[in-house]
């Protein structure tokens, strides 16, 4: 596993108008690891993920202090192209969000946005992305049917393929398996393990079990603060902080 | 890339200002043509003058103001109770079959062009009034009747929306306290929805004051202050519509001046309605 720091978050505070959602976050994400951020609802996990690809810019009243570095570059640097950033850091949301178009057009949406128009090239990209998302075999015969007809698990893998088509470096997954049945969940988790070889992944899991199944390192979030981090096995079996232990053992949810 | 986005945003901003620009243009040009004449004749003489005889340079629009007033009042007297009743009907008392008929009816009433209303009024209503009630038939009474039906869709749709927007607890609460259905409606729901209903009335008024073609065809052409509902009359709108075809010079400017007064009245009514409905929603 590479020891380079892919993402460095330093002294990061985030506010929605006057409400503080993240407090003094210091976190390093290493390349090619699966890092899981877990914790009870409303603890800031989604906010942190959306800050990484600056989707929070869309929200009126969003403010932040502190820095986030991607490969050493400040992502809030005005020189940095926002669209480039979002292609390098892709995000999958908790509910599958296929666009109302065909499977092919969904996956090709991102590349088309970045200017690729050659039909042949798009076909290659789409196939490669669908293969990486472990969806190709299931949809190769119906690439031009509506993506809304796929099952929940397939749609979610489609969302993953959509991002992979842009050849990003980091994947952000916000509870990607909520609303999916166990079989679909298992297939997504399997896909993530495959993807780790090429990408850096940050995952907010649906439950702790998923985190322990899939991730390398973990970080516990509570009320907008990062309580502790460490290798997954250590955090879940011998947590250093009492609050972490209480959450894991179910004393609060 | 960034520059392209900025330019596109500015273009959209410009486009978005088109409606207010048009409004400003309308105000500017109408005022530019009409105001000089109002100053020339004198605002008091213009608005309160009782004689409109363009060939002699008399430009008093009081008869038209009175005409507009009476026609609109008559239309409201007919349209508001009828409209409220239909709104209540649609909201509270509908056997599904009935609303399936009434709703399309109202949509159709809204879609019928005003010249058709005017024509029907001319062919059917005017002779009726003339034969049974006397007078020339082309009268404020006939005009009010038609106008009342023309503003029905406005009153019904906004009143119905207001009634539907009420929390169900209002009605349920009233019924639980022992009110009859009608009492719940009349004493609880209608008062609660009153700002929406008032808005609908104001908008209906605006529509009535602004109606031209049907009124030209039904009201006759009398340029004196009406004294009874059976008299013919002119409104501010018909004044313009009838004479614009052949007016020139001062006469034409006087018609624009009539437009200025009309514009003012409508703007006040509109702003009132907008203000009321913003308060309701916001």
């Amino acid at each position: 596993m590479s020891q380079e720091k892919k993402i460095v978050i330093k002294n990061f505070n985030f506010y929605y108008n006057s409400v503080q959602a993240l407090r003094d976050i210091d976190l390093d994400i290493q390349s090619n690891e699966i890092f899981t951020i877990f914790g009870p609802a409303r603890s800031g996990k989604t906010t942190l993920l959306k800050s990484l690809n600056r989707l929070t810019d869309l929200i009126f009243g969003a403010r932040h202090t502190g820095t986030i570095l991607l490969d050493g570059m400040d992502i809030y640097d005005p020189e940095l192209s926002l669209t480039q950033l979002r292609r390098r850091i892709g995000m999958v949301f908790d509910l599958p969000t296929p666009l109302p178009m065909s499977v092919f057009d969904n996956v090709a949406y991102g590349p088309k946005l970045s200017g690729i128009t050659q039909k042949k090239r798009l076909v290659e990209i789409v196939e490669k992305a669908l293969r990486s998302a472990v969806l190709w075999e299931e949809v190769k015969g119906r690439l031009h049917t509506s993506a809304l007809r796929l099952s929940g698990g397939q749609q979610q893998r489609l969302c993953i393929a959509r991002i992979l088509a842009l050849e990003p470096e980091v994947l952000l997954l916000d509870e990607p398996c909520s609303g999916l049945d166990p079989i679909s969940t298992a297939s997504i988790e399997e896909t993530l393990r495959e993807l780790k070889k090429e990408y850096t992944i940050i995952l907010a899991p649906h439950n702790i079990q998923q985190a322990s199944r899939v991730a390398d390192r973990a970080g516990f979030f509570l009320n907008g603060e990062l309580i502790e981090t460490g290798p997954v096995f250590q955090v879940f079996t011998r947590p250093k902080d009492k609050r972490t232990e209480d959450y894991i053992t179910g004393k609060f949810g | 890339m960034e520059i392209k986005e900025k330019i596109i945003e500015k273009i959209f901003l410009l486009i978005a200002f088109s409606s207010i620009s048009i409004l400003a243009l309308i105000a500017f040009f109408i005022f530019e043509e009409g105001l000089p004449l109002i100053w020339k004749v004198g605002p008091e003489a213009f608005i309160l003058g009782e004689r409109w005889v363009p060939s002699q340079g008399s430009f008093g629009i009081l008869p038209m103001i009175v005409g507009s007033f009476w026609v609109t009042t008559g239309a409201l007297v007919l349209g508001v109770p009828l409209g409220l009743a239909c709104a209540i009907f649609l909201c509270e008392w509908t056997p599904p079959l009935a609303s399936m008929v009434l709703r399309p009816t109202i949509q159709l009433l809204a879609a019928i062009p005003s010249v058709i209303y005017g024509f029907w009024g001319l062919i059917v209503l005017v002779p009726l009034v003339r034969n049974y009630l006397g007078g020339p038939g082309m009268s404020i009474l006939s005009g009010s009747f038609i106008l009342g039906f023309m503003i029905l869709p406005t009153i019904i749709s906004i009143s119905e929306d207001s009634l539907k927007a009420l929390p169900p607890s209002y009605k349920v609460g009233a019924l639980a306290l022992g009110a009859t259905h009608w009492q719940a409606i009349w004493r609880v729901m209608i008062p609660a929805a009153r700002s929406g209903i008032v808005t609908s009335i104001i908008l209906g008024m605006g529509r009535a004051i602004g109606e031209t073609m049907a009124m030209i065809m039904i009201l006759g052409n009398a340029v004196k202050i009406p004294t009874s509902f059976l008299d013919s009359a002119r409104t501010l709108t018909t004044n313009i519509g009838i004479e614009m075809g052949y007016a020139s010079g001062d006469h034409r400017q006087a018609l624009f001046a009539t437009g200025v007064i009309l514009f003012f009245i409508i703007m006040i009514l509109n702003s009132l309605a907008i203000f009321l409905s913003r308060r309701r929603v916001g």
Partner: protein, 279 residues
């Protein structure tokens, strides 16, 4: 004793309300029935294909159909881009702010301006000031101003129904605002926008006051955008008021009603399907 009064009141109220509903339906039927009864027999193919002769006493209404058609197309041509553009700006490029409030106020006020005022404006601005004369162009541009508020509000409603997730997805895949609007939002809002346009068409066809003052009333076939023309509704009005031919008036009126009603029925059906039908 008091109990019985309450229920008596309710019964009376119920009867009155039923009477109101029924009389509304009755009047509508009377109006349509009268005109269609006298007018339908006159509608035959020649009526639609022949142009008016002898000031409209004979012949058909072909040139007025062309006039109506031409005017509506010009109006849509100008109003649709402006209206849709305004809606896109209000929903995608700005939040509720001073600017959006001003724009909405302008739009709402414009919607309330009477058609005769539009006629006066169109006359002094397009016909005289811009020297376009009484023409399809003058009339169409005036109509465009009249239907603009309708298109803006229906387009806005249509755009509102697009789920937020489409935007989020498009932005997160590196889309710019313009790309997101053009590829994720607009294509899906088109049915609703189209509905607004059809509604406006229905309104334009029935419009008379503004058209008479800006497009003229020539019965001749137009040969350019600068030719004056007479629309069906203007023709109907002139026939009726000048007493030229009751028969022709009825026929024109019937044609007008059928046209407007069918367009409005389609529009209302679309409206219920694409715009009001939201969870």
């Amino acid at each position: 004793m008091i109990n019985r009064t309450r229920y008596l009141t309710q019964s009376i109220a119920k009867v009155l309300i039923w009477m109101a509903a029924l009389s509304t339906i009755a009047v509508m039927i009377l109006i349509l029935f009268q005109i269609l009864r006298e007018g339908l027999p006159i509608l035959h193919l020649r009526f639609f294909l022949d142009s008016p002769k002898n000031m409209g006493r004979e012949g058909g209404i072909f040139s007025t159909i062309i006039g109506t058609f031409a005017l509506t197309i010009v109006a849509i041509f100008f109003a649709a881009p402006l209206g849709v553009g305004t809606a896109i700006f209000l929903r995608e490029y700005t939040r509720e702010s001073q600017i959006s409030r001003i724009i909405r106020f302008g739009t709402d006020c414009l919607a309330g301006v009477p058609s005769i005022i539009f006629g006066l404006f169109g006359f002094v601005f397009f016909v005289i000031f811009l020297n376009m004369g009484w023409s399809i162009l003058s009339g169409g541009l005036t109509l465009a101003a009249m239907i603009l508020p309708t298109i803006i509000s229906t387009a806005e409603e249509a755009i509102k129904t697009i789920p937020y997730s489409y935007r989020e997805v498009s932005y997160s895949l590196g889309g710019t605002k313009w790309q997101t609007v053009m590829r994720a939002i607009l294509p899906n809002a088109l049915p609703g926008i189209f509905t607004g346009i059809i509604l406006s068409v229905g309104r334009s066809i029935g419009e008379t006051a503004a058209v008479i003052l800006t497009a003229g009333s020539s019965l001749m076939m137009p040969n350019s955008l600068f030719s004056p023309i007479r629309t069906m509704s203007v023709h109907f009005y002139i026939l009726a008021r000048e007493g030229i031919s009751m028969e022709m008036a009825y026929g024109t009126g019937a044609a007008l009603i059928l046209l407007v009603l069918s367009i409005n029925t389609v529009a209302n059906w679309l409206l219920n399907r694409y715009i009001r039908h939201r969870v």
